[in-house]
Amino acid sequence: MENEIRRHFDEIIEDAKAVLEDIEIEQDYSVKRALLKISGNFGNFKVRITEVVDDDKRKYAYYLINKDFVVIGFDNAPDIKALKIKYGKNYVYHLEERVPHFHGKGKKSTELTKEISFKEFLEKVKLLKEEQQENESEV
């Protein structure tokens, strides 16, 4: 299993290196699980990612940050904002459940999503940059 995880993490690192600057990488491989942390600059923004593969389960948090504020973020942490969308009042019975979701600017919005990969996150980030550039050129 470790080789499979290493290959998976290597792919993420390769994709990150192709897009981010001043990249910092931290990895840890243990018996049952492995951890990957990457941070790097994307233009004026910061990308921070954490991914854990634990007994075949993938836990991730991919964030685009402007100073200390979230621009966009995808993760599958047990976040009550996402749990409330999924379960309504019954969210209290699912507090430890991991739910893939998205956070918008300043975390003012939350939407449920499918599980996303780092590649997909990067695509969203690039798209966001293109939209911003278009808006700036229109102004």
Partner: protein, 109 residues
């Protein structure tokens, strides 16, 4: 019992020091204890960083993020706490498992 292969030269020297099997087993045991301690120390160090950042234990943090007010307070410290909780859980699990492994080795001796 499993069989392991070691260099003939090492075996010759081991034999001069006593029972090669016992010495090899002691050496492996010592190596495993060192590795367990190393992992436990690393896990503790990483956990401490999160405890300092959020001023609470992992269990308290999980309780805090399970209610709206608590979550707001956490997001004032770090809006992208999700990466932290993912890593924090990782080191908590590592700490527990390596402690158990160490206990297991020490109990068997």
């Amino acid at each position: 019992m499993a069989t392991i292969t070691i260099k003939k030269g090492y075996l010759e020297i081991l034999k001069t020091l006593g029972s090669a099997d016992t010495i090899a087993e002691d050496a492996i045991r010592k190596y495993l204890i060192d590795k367990c301690v190393e992992r436990i120390e690393k896990s503790k160090r990483k956990i401490k960083e999160f405890e300092r950042k959020y001023d609470c234990s992992y269990a308290e943090f999980i309780k805090t993020i399970s209610n709206g007010e608590g979550l707001k307070a956490v997001e004032k410290i770090s809006q992208d706490w999700e990466g932290d909780v993912t890593e924090w859980e990782y080191w908590q699990k590592e700490l527990e498992e390596w402690k158990m492994k160490l206990e297991d080795i020490l109990m068997k001796s």
